[in-house]
């Protein structure tokens, strides 16, 4: 087994791909408060995710999603959900930006665990150009949904 494969499929990723945090029924039209939703598709493989985000009155973020895809995309959505529960909106936007940067680093960066938490284990993905979109799918949906939630908060 190549080291690259072990770096790609870290145990944390395999665990999250099976026990998926946030993978639950969506609220759809019954969502209340500051919320947003986003549907993203990876056209090359058909992977897809529908993700909802809510910003609570205390500033906390809740994430729910349904999706179908590879272990990288599903684990990434799961890790994202857990991070959202522990962070503020500003914190998550910072994590999103750093995760994006990490994914496009072509293996030249090590993920900063202090900031990225479990998302740091995806650093191995950046060496596999075909898989970067898998890891980013839920983050693209999250950024879009969070942006909508922030907009509705201001209205």
């Amino acid at each position: 087994m190549s080291t690259q494969m072990q770096q790609l499929y870290q145990q944390v990723i395999l665990d999250h791909s099976r026990e998926r945090a946030g993978n639950s029924d969506l609220l759809g039209d019954s969502a209340a408060g500051a919320h947003g939703s986003s549907h993203q598709i990876n056209p090359t493989c058909g992977d897809e995710i529908e993700l909802e985000t809510e910003i609570g009155e205390d500033g906390g973020i809740a994430v729910r999603w349904t999706g179908d895809g590879c272990s990288i995309s599903m684990a990434s959505a799961s890790v994202l959900t857990e991070l959202a529960a522990e962070n503020s909106v500003e914190g998550m936007l910072d994590i999103e930006a750093k995760f994006h940067e990490l994914m496009h680093s072509r293996g030249t960066m090590a993920g900063d665990e202090e900031i990225l938490g479990d998302a740091a284990v995806f650093s191995g993905v950046s060496k596999f150009p075909a898989r970067i979109k898998c890891a980013l799918l839920s983050w693209v949906a999250f950024k879009d949904a969070l942006n909508q939630a922030q907009t509705s908060l201001k209205e």
Partner: protein
């Protein structure tokens, strides 16, 4: 013979990490023999010039090379050289037909083109196993003209369901477009039955031959189709080149989509007259070096023999199918007996992308995803599959390397 010709393909010696390469993705694109690669060097260093213009010696040599390609293809698939049109790829070839019919439906091409016109009340029939390239252009034609799109469904065994053929292809049907061989299931479709029904109702037959021409003897005249499309790169040739084959009287009345230089007889400021096929459909500078290289590829295939290639790949298909059947948790899509060496499957509990990644780590190259056939995958209740597809240069060792790695996949991802 087959063990020797493997040496003609330099890329097969590539090492993937610590493994030798088992290339089982020829359904996506084939590898090239050294003689095809050498043709590029030879063409550009000895024969390069603009074709069909200029009176100098090099221009004559380049034109000869370009036209010799049509002859080689006509020898391979039937018909005459004038029936062979060069396109960018098979997708463009299919679009040239669909868009040509669209133009005819909107009054282009005069009286002669009216035989192609479709409109409200007419139907265009495809199948549920089409590659998007032979589906989306027909959807566009239906949308543009008001014609209805219909399709033949696919059975659990991965074959066309012909039980309602006569009601799906009926008197309203103007175009019947279908694939010769499924790029996912490997199923060889009964072209004779489908063409017979099309002839009864007077529908034009358009054949997607991308997965048949490289792998089995095919003669479009014997099959009695009106148009057919295939690509060079799946048949040992270069990328950037496809072939549209058609019946001459149809080609010469179908309105061209790409217009401009090299395809006209007379141009005035008011209007233009077009040439007959093939030049009618070859506006602008053509991929001459690619045609020269594809000619070498076609001659190579003819020398090996398409029946030999088919028999060889059929043996490999049996090795793949028998081997997969012994691995727990793998479901093959379709079970047609009449098939080529293309096998798509689902691994229980592991997404196709992950399967492909693991196989790659073991030196095995396969395709993962929907293989440009989303409706077919939806029909089988999956969004993505893994596909192994053979060619003449593959051997039993390639299949065994694949089967060994596939047997480890579910264990690696912890779903056993």
């Amino acid at each position: 013979m087959f063990s020797r010709l493997r040496n003609d393909f330099p890329i097969l010696d590539t090492r993937i990490g610590e493994s030798s390469l088992s290339y089982l993705d020829s359904g996506a694109t084939s590898q090239k023999p050294q003689c095809v690669i050498d043709t590029f060097t030879e063409y550009y260093s000895q024969r390069n010039a603009a074709v069909h213009r200029g009176a100098h010696s090099l221009a004559v040599m380049a034109t000869d090379a370009f036209e010799a390609g049509r002859e080689a293809v006509a020898n391979l698939v039937g018909g005459t050289p004038e029936q062979v049109i060069w396109t960018k790829n098979a997708t463009e070839a299919l679009n040239v037909v669909a868009l040509g019919i669209d133009r005819a439906s909107h009054g282009f091409g005069g009286q002669a083109a009216q035989r192609f016109a479709v409109g409200p009340g007419d139907s265009i029939v495809v199948t549920e196993m089409e590659h998007h390239a032979n589906l989306v252009p027909w959807q566009q034609l239906a949308q543009s003209t008001g014609a209805q799109i219909r399709w033949l469904p696919v059975t659990d065994s991965g074959e066309l369901d012909l039980s309602n053929l006569d009601s799906i292809v009926d008197e309203t049907t103007k175009v019947f477009a279908f694939t010769h061989v499924s790029n996912v299931l490997g199923t060889i479709n009964p072209v004779d039955t489908l063409v017979a029904r099309a002839r009864q109702v007077g529908a034009l037959v358009v054949l997607d031959a991308c997965q048949s021409v490289p792998h089995m003897p095919v003669n479009f005249v014997d099959l009695d189709v009106d148009f057919a499309a295939f690509s060079a790169h799946k048949a040992l040739g270069p990328t950037g080149l496809g072939t549209l084959w058609g019946r001459s009287e149809l080609l010469n009345s179908l309105p061209p989509v790409l217009t401009g230089g090299s395809m006209i007889t007379t141009v005035t400021m008011e209007g233009s007259q077009f040439m007959d096929a093939p030049q009618r459909f070859e506006a602008g500078t053509q991929p001459v070096a690619e045609v020269a290289a594809f000619t070498t590829a076609v001659n190579y295939l003819a020398e090996v023999g398409l029946q030999n290639i088919f028999d060889h790949e059929r043996e490999l298909a049996t090795v793949l199918l028998d081997g997969i059947a012994e691995i727990p948790g793998i479901t093959v899509l379709g079970s047609a007996e009449n098939r080529i060496g293309t096998v798509a499957f689902d691994v229980d509990g592991v997404h196709a992308h992950d399967v492909g990644q693991y196989l790659d780590s073991q030196g095995v190259a396969v395709r993962v995803g929907h293989h440009c056939a989303q409706p077919l995958h939806r029909r089988f209740g999956v969004t993505a599959t893994t596909r192994a597809s053979t060619y003449l240069y593959n051997n039993t060792e390639d299949c065994e390397q694949f089967l060994h790695a596939l047997g480890e996949v579910r264990g690696f991802f912890g779903v056993e």
